[in-house]
Symmetry: C2
C-alpha cells in the first residue's frame, strides 16, 4: 500500500505550540502594566506581517514580540524589559523536547517496513537542534527541512527518494501544510489534530475520502495501516 511515510514534527511528534503559548503568557505579564489589552491581537498582526521576511520560528517570534511591545507602549518599554523578552527566546531555543504519546513506539514499529521521512517547515537551526534534542533522528531515512510545505516542495522530496505519490502517506497536525498538498498530489494523508490550534491557520478539513483519515493519536497508526493492507490485499 505505502512505501514511505512522512511525518510532520512540531505538534505531531513533539509539543511545540504549547511552548509558544506559555511564552506568550509571560509576554502578556510584561506588558500588563503598560497596555493590558490587545496584546494577543497586536502580536498576531505583527507576526502575520513579518512572516514573509522572518519566516517561521523562534527568532522571528522574538522579533515580533519586541516589535509589538514597542508599538503597544509607544516606545515606552524599557531596555531591561526587552532583555526579558529576549531571554524568553533563549529559553525556547534550548527547552527540552517533550515527545507526544506513542511517538517512539510507533516509529520503532514502523521503521522496518517503511521509508520514514521527517518533513518539517521552519527555521533551519531551530529545527535541526530540536530534532537532535528529540533523540528521534535515527528512526528516519531522511530529514527534510523546508520553508513552505506546498505541492512543489513535496514533489521535490518524493522525486529525490523515488517515491510515487500514490505510495506516499503523510501524517501531521496541519490541514494546510500536511494534508491538502499531499491529497492534491495524489497521496494519502492522516490528520492528527493537536490540543491547541495554531492561530495562523483555520482551514476546513477536506471531505471524507479514501485518501484522508483522522486519528486522535499516533498510536493508532500501525493498526490502521494493517487494516489498509488487508483491504488492498
Amino acid at each position: 500500500m505505502f512505501d514511505a511515510i512522512g511525518f510532520d514534527a512540531d505538534d505531531t511528534l513533539w509539543h511545540n505550540e504549547r511552548l509558544f503559548s506559555m511564552t506568550q503568557e509571560k509576554f502578556r505579564g510584561i506588558l500588563k502594566e503598560h497596555a493590558p489589552d490587545l496584546v494577543d491581537r497586536q502580536l498576531l498582526d505583527t507576526e502575520k506581517k513579518n512572516l514573509q521576511v522572518f519566516g517561521y520560528g523562534i527568532k522571528g517570534f522574538v522579533l515580533s514580540m519586541i516589535e509589538t511591545s514597542i508599538q503597544l507602549t509607544k516606545g515606552g518599554i524599557s531596555g531591561n524589559e526587552i532583555e526579558q523578552i529576549m531571554d524568553f527566546g533563549r529559553e525556547m531555543l534550548t527547552a527540552p523536547i517533550q515527545l507526544l504519546e506513542h511517538v517512539e513506539d510507533t516509529l520503532q514499529y514502523l521503521q522496518n517496513n517503511y521509508i520514514l521521512l521527517l518533513i518539517t517547515k521552519g527555521d533551519l537551526i531551530d529545527q535541526e537542534t530540536k530534532i537532535a534534542r528529540s533523540g528521534l533522528s535515527d528512526y528516519f531515512n531522511s530529514i527534510e527541512i523546508i520553508s513552505e510545505k506546498n505541492v512543489p516542495a513535496y514533489q521535490k522530496i518524493l522525486d529525490k527518494h523515488q517515491i510515487q505519490p500514490e505510495r506516499f502517506l503523510m501524517v501531521g497536525n496541519s490541514i494546510r501544510s500536511d494534508i491538502l498538498p499531499v491529497l492534491e498530489m495524489g497521496g494519502t494523508a492522516v490528520y492528527i489534530p493537536y490540543e491547541i490550534d495554531w492561530a495562523h491557520e483555520h482551514d476546513s478539513k477536506p471531505g471524507s475520502s479514501a485518501s484522508f483519515h483522522e486519528m486522535t493519536h499516533l498510536g493508532q497508526l500501525p493498526g490502521w495501516l494493517k487494516t489498509m493492507e488487508v483491504k488492498t490485499g
Copy 2:
C-alpha cells in the same frame, strides 16, 4: 577532470558582508551618544555567544544588536531606538542583491559542461529569498542550504548527487567553510577572497598543493578549468 562544481553564495556570488558592515555603522550611530566605545567588540562577543542558538543570518544579527544595545546602555536604550535597529534588519532582509563581477557570465558558460551546485550555510528563509532575488537559481542543478559546512555535510550532498569527491570542485571565499572540508574529503577547492574578511573567521590558507588554488575573481575560473583539462589530458 570535474563532474560538478559547488559555489558558495554570500560574498562569492553576491555582496553580503558589505550589508552587515553598513548596518553595523548605522548601529554605531545609534549608540554614539550612549556608549561610543566598545560597540564593535561587544557586538562581536554577543554574536559569538549567540551563534550556537541563533545560527547564521540576519535575524540572529538583529537580535545580537538589540542585546548589545541593552548591555552597553545598561538598559537605558529606548524602545524607539530598538525599533530603528529592527528596521535595519527589515532593510537587510529585502535589500536588492548585488552580484559580484563576472558571476553571471561564468555560470552561463559553465552550466553546459558541469553539474552546478549552490552550497550555502545560513538561515533558510534569508538564503532562499536571496537566491530568488539574485536571479541565478536557474543556473544551478541543485540548491543546498545547510547549517554548517563540514565534511559530513559535504559528503551527504555529494552522495545525494552521486559525485565522487575527486571529481568535485568547490569555489568560495571562506577557508574554513569552503576550502578545508573539501580538501579533507579529497576534493579540489578554489579560494576567491572577498574584499572584507569576516570578523568571525581568521583561518590560515592551506599550503600550496594541486588541490588548492587561489583566484582574484570568478571570471578566471573558466580559463583555469581549461588549463586543468589540458594538463590531465
